[in-house]
């Protein structure tokens, strides 16, 4: 069938690609745009490894058909750092020891980012809820929760400093 002219913003850059409409957003990111930081773990929205932020909302990119992202803005792990500088969350994941095998890490960081954009000062339970769609088999989540707390504190501090 006819290809779909998909136009979307990915990590701040507008991309236009003709795709089969049955392609998932995950496939477009990985296979067409070579943004392989977004991982596939289950293909059914049960692990969160493919999480990206779509128009400000956290989604599993394996559950989104490419045309559903048309006209929208996608943020992947590759779009988190600015000019090679790691983002506060990325640094916090390193400091807290929240990374082991690393396969869930990109999705986790995006889940945390989506959470902090909505709730800049979450409690532990809120953090756990915010990352509850992202499975991690290595860490037991404790250090991931800690990392999100660390990043939140840093961002709050910066916010405070900027506000004054």
């Amino acid at each position: 069938m006819e290809k779909f002219q998909l136009k979307m913003k990915v990590n701040g850059r507008t991309v236009t690609v003709a795709v089969e409409p049955g392609l998932r957003l995950l496939d477009v990111l990985r296979d067409v745009l070579h943004l392989t930081g977004t991982k596939e773990g289950c293909g059914e929205g049960e692990c969160g490894a493919c999480s990206v932020i779509l128009d400000g909302e956290l989604v599993d990119s394996c559950l989104v058909l490419a045309p559903q992202a048309h006209g929208k803005e996608v943020v992947t792990i590759e779009g988190i750092s600015r000019e090679g500088e790691l983002d506060a969350l990325q640094r916090a994941f390193l400091t807290a020891g929240a990374v082991q095998c690393g396969y869930c890490t990109p999705g986790m960081i995006l889940a945390a980012k989506a959470l902090l954009s909505r709730n800049p000062n979450p409690g532990r339970q809120e953090i756990a809820r915010g990352i509850s769609g992202n499975l991690c088999r290595c860490t037991g989540y404790a250090k991931i929760v800690k990392a999100v707390e660390l990043a939140a504190a840093e961002l709050q501090q910066k916010e405070g400093a900027a506000g004054v």
Partner: protein
């Protein structure tokens, strides 16, 4: 990759209805896609054409006029969970919050939850307790059906070919009502309800003057349970009443499940979730013994 025969992204409801109406069943409406996309990927559903409803403004938005609430069918669980307009119906917010994961809640829709007709659909149990009505639209016209009437079996609805759910409507429960939703899952997130329970209780002069009780995942579709409502009606909240309700719920679940293998467990488990919810609605908290 899914092999789709067609993909349409109409910008208005009439456009979508025209597409669907002329296609027989060859085209299928796509809401959030959280159930349909993986089903297609896994080959559980035959390849088909899709009409993506996400760009249709008429299907979105939550509003309140007097005591009536309208929820556009493409409203996501996340929007429902966080809508200040829905503060009056905690059961629906709690049901939406109990769905899957943050990712599913930001993509999945209440209309999709109804049309998918899962026995365990969380928001549908809440909608049953709210006596919610679905407004259906097709090229031929519109009609309104009670949500619980619309569902007729596992994965089965009475939606006609070319018909879509436009919006869900219900009355805010009367003054003095409390409501809540509780879910029994195998884990605390990313879980399908093994059972769910939604309650609306209205108090007048310390007694329960109106009760709505709905149960999910104990039959083909979630439904109101009048026998359990009768247990509460006219009573004062008390621990004894909680016990009576738990026993009645157990009996009800036993009858509903008959000889199914899950009956011996669910008959017992419903007591636990019923207690949790009633204690919360009556007294505001649970208690721990032992």
């Amino acid at each position: 990759m899914l092999n789709l025969s067609a993909y349409h992204q109409p910008k208005s409801l009439p456009e979508a209805l025209a597409l669907l109406g002329s296609s027989g069943r060859a085209l299928r409406p796509l809401a959030g896609g959280t159930d349909l996309v993986p089903a297609l990927t896994k080959g559980e559903t035959e390849p088909l054409g899709l009409v993506d409803l996400s760009r249709i403004p008429e299907l979105r938005g939550i509003s309140r006029v007097d005591n009536q609430i309208r929820i556009g069918s493409l409203s996501t669980f996340g929007e429902i969970e966080n809508s200040p307009l829905l503060l009056a119906v905690p059961l629906l917010r709690e049901a939406a919050a109990a769905v899957g994961s943050p990712q599913i809640r930001s993509q999945g829709t209440i209309g999709g939850n109804i049309a998918n007709a899962s026995p365990a659909a969380d928001t549908v149990t809440a909608l049953a307790a709210l006596d919610a009505v679905a407004r259906l639209e097709s090229a031929a016209g519109s009609r309104s059906v009670q949500v619980s009437e619309l569902l007729c079996g596992v994965g089965q609805t009475k939606l006609l070919p070319g018909e879509v759910i436009k919006e869900i409507l219900f009355q805010v429960p009367p003054q003095g009502s409390r409501s809540g939703f509780v879910k029994l899952g195998r884990r605390k997130a990313l879980a399908i309800a093994r059972m769910n329970l939604a309650l609306v209780i209205t108090f007048e002069a310390g007694r329960i003057s109106r009760a709505r009780v709905a149960l999910g995942a104990v039959g083909p579709n979630p439904s109101r349970r009048p026998a359990l409502e009768l247990v509460l009606l006219g009573q004062e909240p008390s621990r004894t009443l909680i016990d009576e309700f738990a026993m009645a719920a157990s009996k009800e679940v036993g009858q509903m499940l008959g000889t199914r293998p899950s009956v011996s467990y669910k008959r017992e488990a419903v007591k636990g979730i019923a207690r949790d919810l009633l204690q919360r609605l009556f007294f505001g908290a649970g208690q721990v013994v032992g």
